[in-house]
Amino acid sequence: MADKKDSAGLDAVDAGPVSSDVSGEHHAGTEGDASEHASVAALRERFADAVVRHRVYSGGQHVVWIAPEKSHEILAWLRDDPDHRYDMMSDVTAVDYGNGRPVNMVYQMYSMVHKRELRLRCELPLDALEIDSVVDLWKVADWLEREVFDLFGVTFNGHPDLRRILMPADYAEGHPLRKDFPLRGRFSRAEQTRRALNQDVERFYRAEDLSAGHAPQEVAPVEVGTLASDDAEGDA
């Protein structure tokens, strides 16, 4: 049974995708109501300057755009504050909308403590594609940020090992998922084949890349009974 909250933003799904040729800003979804999501309300209150906009997408997915220079501070707070505690970073990715529009960094987070999810976005202008790394907060962001660096060319300040992860290490044609990247690449097929065969295969398999089972990341446990949500569950 879909109530009002679950069906919010579904109009945009019905409308279908928007062509990247269309210029100007367009954000699908509906204007969000911060009172529906505790973390959004807290962000609005605590980081009022840094919250750019808040939208609700297909079926109640809350998306908050934040200022990139404040991203690390906000994400650290969302991870550590006991009322939010987003201890799982589900995905770090990016979207290029083309036509000179800014590249959007996307952070998809889930709080296993509060059973709540939140998506943060940062708009990075094409001439300043850099943002603070969040590897120090979530180790999982390591390879995800390398993927964004590889395919979109976003530089992550403070990343411990920022190098290409999918494309060959000596790939010289650019960043393939950018809208201005030609489908077949920038070099001719002959040149691509020559470069491919001249790769150093040994470099694919570095010992530190292959070593599995690093020590798990420690996230401070939450004491039972200290959360606001604990009382709510007790009442129910």
Partner: protein, 217 residues
Amino acid sequence: MGLKDILPGGGTSATTGALFGAGGPTFLTSKVDWIVNWGRRNSLWPMPFGTACCAIEMMASAASNFDLARFGMERMSFSPRQADVLICAGRVPYKLAPVLRRVWDQMPQPKWCISMGACASSGGVFDVYSMVQGIDTIIPVDVYIPGCPPRPEGLIYGLMMIQEKIRQESLSRHFEHRAEDPTLVARPLASDFEVAELSGPFGNSTQQEQLSSGEAV
């Protein structure tokens, strides 16, 4: 079934030159080519290089319903050094190209190669920045199997074509066409200019020196 039954003419005709004593054949003569090719084509060990959905069909071919062992492909050799025929099943990205080349180089002579499926043979639908446009730009290929993916019967037919090819090979001529660098053996008869003009922006061969935008390099 003894050797006598499978030799041409049942081992009794004059073509084999076999002599028979009272208790059966004591010795026989044959062509070295024939004996060697008979052994080779009936004990082909595949090196499976499966990268995509074609590999699922390749596994089905080896399983009990289709049973490649009937053709002497008794053992999938996961070491290239004990393999005779490389089966490249699936798409190969440029990053994997030197790996495929090295696996091929590690296989001992004599060796054969099967390109299984549309992606391995031509790049298939993946005419994009990251994909090898046919593994014959990396290594020499003996048999191309069309299909997306081919059914196990297709792979078996391809392997039987390899067997037929081996049957017609001769020890004295075997290495002639086995040059290692496909860019040397696979030169087209047409000139570079004609290749570029014909392939245009959609060309996908190693000889294509044009950018995808159509301008020459």
